[in-house]
């Protein structure tokens, strides 16, 4: 790298400790250009400064034009008209506090917006309702500057009061908000304050370098609503700051939106959005094929093969960290012996499973939640492959050469029943006779507390985990000794301390070093089998372009239309 030191110094002046740390990591070659952009945007370095630094380090021109929306098919979409979107029926009322399902979170982001946007195509966090943000030295206090002149759909101007209200409500344990899964131990209502009308300050319970991630669109509940909003009746108005305004919402049936002429982001292309809810995927595919919808938001391969192999449709692909965890009870014989758990993990032919269930839309998992998309993932950890001879050896070493019978509990959801059957056949190869219990989701989760839930109590349990931008949630609840979703009943002090260090680590190289340790530990202990990660997929008609989707089910259509 030929560096322009003078320019660099200039750009570095006034940067916080955290920001300078990221710049150092980049300069010393610890992180790549792409990861520098990603990390830099998280800690609050603005895009012009980031590209300035890249320019100062030489040859930056190519970097800023990273991949655009995957759906863009050459020419630009036209303004006007109606877009019809097939989605799933929201599982419950559209209450920003409690929404926890695909259908519901899709609805939230039609009119609701976030402080920062997690761009699924570039993996960068971008300004949305906040224009810039800054952390103090250790990442324990974060200050966000709000975008001026943003208006809610009821005409009111957004101020820091509204943002503070939204955050206080979402982080209040009394409200049982879904966002507590992120905020517990991180943010309480008293930590949110507004120094002035355009600034919001967060004092965290524990420092983290990832805070903007955690309140970005990734945290799908965290839309900004007007001060004093009654969340339980939000469904009637959908008041937000976004590019669209609610026309009509009918539970179980669908919703229509019209464009917001005063949107801060400029022109909104579609005049109208028509969301139509379907109970399952099959009618969505049929509707796309018959031309009665333009977009199917989030589809899985099973049953949609006809769309995937047809040039009349675009498939929007978002690599993601969504996966399935097959847990084995580490506290119950015979899975108390880690050799038995390892043996089970060795029976799976992962590439074959991915091909059968996802074709090319899946990535190998290595029995830890560190997905290939996470920058902190240590890719030098050796991949586990099918090895029946080794598995049999391990079984006999563990005194289980005769095999045993056990029970696997799981849910009816997407490809899981098929995957469970594959697991059963795989286990049979080394004498593990697995009885499947494929249950409705309500029955499987039960009360979701230990002793009252097939999910958490089963000897083996196969559960779904949706996409997260950072692995923190995956590493905590399902794996730490005190974790609330620890279906494997895995209790390992070394792991617990590694986890704590990982979360507190502010710079990427430390994170990656700790990730490597965690990955190796989990591979050895094998409390969980994670055979694959798979992409978030959506489909549109060939003529539709500009739709931005996320692996979680959000869809942003302000710039979408027919070519």
């Amino acid at each position: 790298m030929d560096r322009n030191s003078e320019k660099l110094d200039q750009l570095r002046t006034g940067r916080s400790e955290l920001e300078n740390h990221v710049i150092d990591e980049f300069l010393t070659g610890h992180i790549s250009r792409r990861e520098f952009l990603r990390r830099g945007s998280i800690v609050g370095i603005s895009i012009p400064v980031l590209s300035g630094i890249l320019a100062a380090c030489g040859g930056a021109n190519s970097s800023s034009s990273s991949s655009s929306s995957s759906s863009t098919a050459g020419s630009a979409p036209k303004a006007g008209g109606t877009l019809r979107i097939a989605g799933v029926v929201p599982a419950a009322a559209i209450n920003p506090l409690t929404v926890a399902d695909e259908g519901g979170l899709t609805m939230l982001c039609q009119t609701g917006e976030f402080l920062v946007f997690d761009d699924p195509t570039t993996f960068l966090v971008k300004p949305m309702l906040a224009t810039s943000w800054k952390a103090n030295g250790d990442g324990s206090v974060w200050t966000f500057t709000l975008r001026p002149n943003v208006k809610f759909s009821n005409g009111q101007t957004m101020t820091s009061k509204d943002v503070v209200y939204s955050f206080k409500q979402q982080s209040d344990p009394k409200n049982a908000s879904n966002a507590l899964s992120v905020f517990t131990g991180l943010l309480t209502p008293s930590g949110v304050s507004a120094p002035d009308d355009h600034t919001v300050e967060f004092k965290l319970e524990a420092p983290t370098g990832n805070f903007p991630w955690l309140i970005s669109s990734d945290n799908y509940n965290m839309i900004i609503v007007p001060d004093g909003t009654d969340f339980s009746t939000w469904e009637k108005t959908f008041i937000g700051t976004g590019p669209f305004i609610l026309t009509k919402y009918t539970a179980k049936v669908g919703a229509t939106f019209h464009k917001n002429p005063n949107w801060w982001g400029g022109q909104v292309l579609p005049d109208t959005l028509q969301h139509i809810f379907y109970p399952t995927q099959q009618p969505q595919i049929l509707a796309l094929q018959s031309g009665s919808v333009d977009i199917v938001n989030l589809i899985v391969l099973q049953g949609a093969q006809a769309i995937f192999n047809n040039p009349d449709y675009n498939i929007l692909v978002n690599h993601s960290s969504q996966h399935r965890q097959l847990s084995m009870r580490c506290d119950k014989a015979p899975f108390t012996d880690k050799r038995v758990r390892q043996a089970m993990a060795l029976t799976l032919n992962r590439p074959e499973i991915i091909k059968a269930l996802f074709q090319q839309y899946g990535q190998l998992g290595n029995d830890s939640p560190f997905a290939p998309i996470f920058p902190s993932t240590d890719k030098s950890v050796p991949q586990r492959h099918e090895d029946i001879a080794m598995a049999k050896q391990l079984m006999s070493d563990a005194g289980q050469s005769g095999g045993f019978s056990t029970d696997l509990y799981t849910e009816v959801y997407q490809e899981i029943p098929q995957y469970a059957q594959i697991i059963k056949q795989a286990g049979a190869q080394i004498g593990i006779n697995i009885n499947l219990h494929v249950e409705s989701q309500t029955a499987y989760y039960g009360k979701a507390t230990y002793g009252n839930s097939d999910w958490l109590d089963g000897a083996m349990s196969l559960v779904d985990y949706g996409h997260r931008g950072v692995p923190n949630v995956f590493l905590n609840a399902p794996l730490t000794s005190a974790g609330t979703w620890n279906a494997a009943h895995f209790k390992n002090p070394t792991y617990d301390s590694l986890y704590k260090q990982y979360v507190a680590a502010v710079d990427l190289s430390t994170q990656r070093q700790l990730a490597g340790k965690i990955q190796r530990l989990l591979l050895d202990e094998t409390p969980l089998i994670i055979a694959y990660f798979f992409d978030g997929l959506s489909a549109t008609k060939k003529a539709v372009s500009g739709a931005v989707t996320t692996a979680m089910g959000q869809i942003f259509l302000s710039g979408a239309g027919t070519v």
Binding site: A92, S232, A251, V253, L286, S440
Partner: protein, 309 residues
């Protein structure tokens, strides 16, 4: 009528108790597996599901008597609009099924009766018997593959795009309606055949023949009139049966009717919705049976005359 009310009351108790046995926890079902336990407990308290059973039942019953079906756990909205929409959808589907099936079935039954013992009679009987015996989802599979996939002439999706014309609505309902129709077809066809056979052998028919009237006139004036009335009456009793078939067909073709509503409510432990849905089905069934009973009694003397021993 009084008996029907007692029946309904017993039904409400049975459904209520069955609802209590459903696995899972209402608060948990609403908030999802990831919610905190204290939030679930709070919500359970708000919903009143931590109160004694008898209190819960009483609250619910008094609500119903005041026309309040309660609030859905899942959607946290009043249940009534869901039930009316679903019932209306199901009625549309049932109407299409009835209109397709009844005329054809009666025609086939009369044709078989006029040719008792011939190959026509036998083949119609065998077809009717098979139609009657096939579960709806089995005939549904055949029809979906033949008309939806191979010939690609009927939409597999029972729900038309929003704002569709009535003709399109009916077009989308044809495929799901046929499996419902088939079972009814077999039944009504048998009824029509038996009724016509009996009428053909009745005294008034013989008298007419003896009077020298042409066969076609006899059939038109005496036989059809006397055989079809009871058949049509009995068709009314099938409304309740049709609703049972709707559960399967609506799930299969993803149609948001009362059957799909009950099925979904049972799976998501939306107990107030389940109870309201099941009771609605019970009421519709009892009403239909009542209507059928009354008209049957009115027409019965003549029938007995025809089939006297």
């Amino acid at each position: 009528m009084g008996l029907a009310l007692i029946t309904l009351w017993i039904l409400s108790v049975i459904v209520f108790l069955a609802g209590q046995l459903l696995p899972g926890d209402p608060g948990r079902a609403i908030l999802g597996p990831l919610a905190e336990q204290r939030a679930v407990t709070t919500l359970d308290h708000q919903l009143g599901v931590d109160k004694p059973l008898i209190t819960q039942y009483w609250n619910w019953l008094t609500g119903i008597l005041h026309g309040d079906l309660g609030t859905s756990y899942t959607y946290q909205q009043p249940i009534r609009p869901f039930i009316t929409t679903a019932l209306w959808n199901s009625l549309k589907l049932a109407a299409v099924a009835f209109l397709m099936c009844v005329p054809l079935a009666i025609l086939a039954g009369v044709l078989a009766a006029l040719n008792v013992g011939s190959w026509k009679d036998r083949s119609i009987s065998v077809v009717g018997l098979s139609a009657l015996a096939l579960p709806e989802f089995v005939s549904g599979v055949f029809l979906a593959i033949i008309f939806g996939i191979w010939l690609n002439v009927l939409p597999l999706d029972a729900t038309p795009p929003p704002g569709a014309s009535p003709a399109t609505v009916v077009y989308h309902l044809i495929l799901p309606a046929i499996p419902l129709t088939l079972v009814l077809f077999g039944y009504i066809m048998r009824m029509a055949r038996a009724g016509t056979v009996a009428a053909l052998e009745a005294d008034y028919t013989r008298t007419a023949v003896l009077k020298g009237l042409p066969r076609s006139t006899v059939v038109r004036r005496h036989v059809l009139r006397n055989s079809l009335l009871p058949t049509i009456t009995v068709v009314a009793t099938q409304v309740g049966y049709l609703i049972g078939g709707l559960v399967v067909v609506e799930n299969m073709f993803h149609y948001q009717g009362i059957g799909a509503l009950v099925f979904t409510a049972a799976n998501s432990k939306d107990f107030p919705m389940l109870e309201a849905g099941v009771l609605t089905i019970g009421v519709v069934y009892l009403l239909a049976t009542l209507v059928a009973d009354i008209s049957y009694t009115l027409l019965n003397p003549r029938l007995r005359l025809g089939g006297a021993e």
